[in-house]
């Protein structure tokens, strides 16, 4: 079996409106910006975003902010959305203040624990902490139970997270569809937990990644990958070396301070396809 190889637009076409979408935090070259812009072009609606566990790096915050600003998003389940040291995510903050975006507030280890349970196909995970936090009060998918192995020991349990669709960018794949992710292990957990996994990669190599015993440990095997696209630069404004073009993010933030500025930025960039500047 070989994983379907498509172009980015065809990949994005597999994402239905209303889907629960998993995205990772953008610490490495994992931000699926090209896919995001295709979703905006398509006018997808009512996405229920789950960030693993945040979108709080400049490029990942920007990606989420664009989806929110473009009206594609119904809710965001997250432990943090920002542009990191550059500041707040403008369209996200505006949507929350306007009451047009539902935020399901979480805390990072709870997202991880629930996702790991999801990746194992188990119903819930136990996690220390949380008790007494207002986060708990607003989550009907978190509960406190008694530890059956210790008297008088309340423990929080969290319903498993299983996204409908996961989107990310990765350094490379092979022709069978095995995807190499380096140290970004969150991508593997997310692919295990998701019904559909759509991946853009910097390059497709001609050898079998699973045959190389130094690369194989960091591979997501092809049977977790629904479809992929070779799309160098699809993590723009992240660069392939893991750094981010902060001027792009600053430019975006300046524009997105207002709804009009955001609309202008968006139409300019949807036309220019900056994410596909090959």
């Amino acid at each position: 079996m070989t994983v379907q190889q498509l172009d980015v637009a065809a990949l994005a076409a597999l994402v239905p409106s209303g889907a629960r979408i998993g995205v990772t935090k953008g610490e490495q070259t994992d931000v699926p910006m090209a896919l995001t812009l295709e979703l905006v072009r398509r006018g997808v609606r009512d996405l229920r975003m789950v960030t693993i566990p945040t979108c709080a790096f400049p490029a990942s915050g920007m990606m989420l902010d664009i989806l929110v600003g473009a009206g594609c998003v119904a809710s965001v389940e997250t432990s943090g959305v920002s542009m990191s040291e550059l500041g707040a995510a403008p369209r996200f903050s505006a949507a929350v203040k306007a009451g047009s975006l539902k935020v399901i507030d979480a805390t990072c280890p709870a997202v991880y624990a629930a996702l790991q349970a999801g990746a194992k196909g188990q119903p819930f995970a136990a996690l220390r902490g949380l008790i007494g936090s207002d986060l708990m009060a607003h989550r009907d998918d978190w509960a406190v139970v008694s530890n059956p192995f210790e008297d008088g020991d309340p423990v929080a349990v969290l319903k498993a997270i299983n996204p409908d669709v996961t989107l990310f960018h990765a350094p490379m794949a092979d022709r069978r569809g095995n995807v190499w992710i380096g140290r970004n292990r969150d991508l593997l957990t997310l692919a295990h937990a998701s019904a559909t996994t759509l991946v853009t990669v910097e390059k497709i190599v001609d050898f079998d990644l699973m045959e190389d015993e130094t690369l194989a440990p960091a591979v997501i095997p092809d049977f977790y990958v629904t479809a992929l696209a070779e799309a160098p630069g699809a993590c723009w404004p992240q660069r392939a070396d893991g750094s981010t073009d902060l001027d792009v993010v600053r430019g975006y933030m300046a524009a997105a301070r207002t709804a009009e500025g955001f609309a202008d930025w968006l139409s300019a960039h949807l036309d220019a396809r900056p994410e596909a500047a090959e």
């Binding site: 935020v103 507030d105 805390t107 220390r128 902490g129």
Partner: protein, 251 residues
């Protein structure tokens, strides 16, 4: 290097105070956008001859995870992370931290980025050091609008960790876990008790005589301005340039 030549800066006093609270720690993690805690942690690392390991999050060069983003929390859950830093849009007198926003949640007059790992790490990391460089009644409040992470827990709740101190641009508070209250420990040089009282929205305990936060001795200052400054420049170049006049080494 010219340790001692330039006057001691507030950031250096704060970082030295932080390092003092990290003595004997095996592993200290520093969250994102936390240059002064980072400086304090790296100072603790240098002083310990490397025995105190420092992981600065968001920087691949200064973290050592190989099991994804959950590894930090797993390490903490195993009792292997001794110290962490936490800030908040609001912090109240019970050491409750609000990272979510102002207003009647889920409505928000102001929305902040979110709670990150606070609602967990605050429970399991033995030495959580709170910091806030804007010491005002807007930030240090009587009661937070939203509890991202509570300062104390009911008896019976598993809680090996919690806050030990709050450091601001004005002063240093100890947190008394048994009483669930802050206690003023020292005023930074040039700061008066009245200034702290006027700018603090919560009630706190204080000793008869409040001392001054000590300035780092020449040896410490040499460490801060030497190896620590060079290392922090790799992670926080803007901060290092403005405070220490140091540029990052070519990667």
């Amino acid at each position: 290097m010219s340790a001692g030549a330039a006057p001691v800066r507030p950031e250096e006093i704060q970082a030295a105070a932080i390092a003092g609270m990290l003595e004997g720690a095996r592993h200290v993690a520093v969250g994102m956008v936390s240059p002064i805690p980072g400086t304090g942690a790296l100072l603790a690392n240098e002083r310990s001859g490397g025995a105190t390991r420092v992981s600065i999050l968001g920087s691949k060069k200064t973290t050592f995870w190989t099991n994804g983003g959950s590894e930090l929390f797993d390490l903490a859950g195993r009792g292997r992370l001794d110290a962490f830093f936490l800030s908040g849009g609001q912090i109240d007198g019970g050491a409750n931290v609000n990272l979510v926003g102002v207003g009647d949640y889920p409505e928000a007059k102001v929305r902040w980025s979110g709670s990150f790992g606070s609602a967990y790490l605050y429970f399991v990391v033995p030495r959580v050091i709170l910091f806030r460089w804007e010491h005002t009644r807007r930030t240090l409040v009587d009661k937070v609008d939203f509890v991202s992470a509570p300062g104390t827990s009911e008896p019976g709740v598993h809680r090996p960790g919690g806050p030990i101190a709050l450091i601001t641009n004005l002063c240093l508070f100890d947190f008394q876990r048994d009483r669930g209250r802050f206690r003023l420990k020292s005023l930074h040089p040039g700061v008066t008790l009245e200034e702290v009282m006027d700018n603090t929205g919560f009630d706190f305990d204080r000793p008869e005589r409040v001392g001054e936060t000590p300035s780092p001795d020449p040896e410490t200052l040499a460490l801060i301005r030497g190896p620590v400054a060079r290392r922090i420049a790799d992670v926080y170049p803007v901060f290092a340039r403005s405070v220490f006049g140091v540029e990052p080494a070519a990667a």
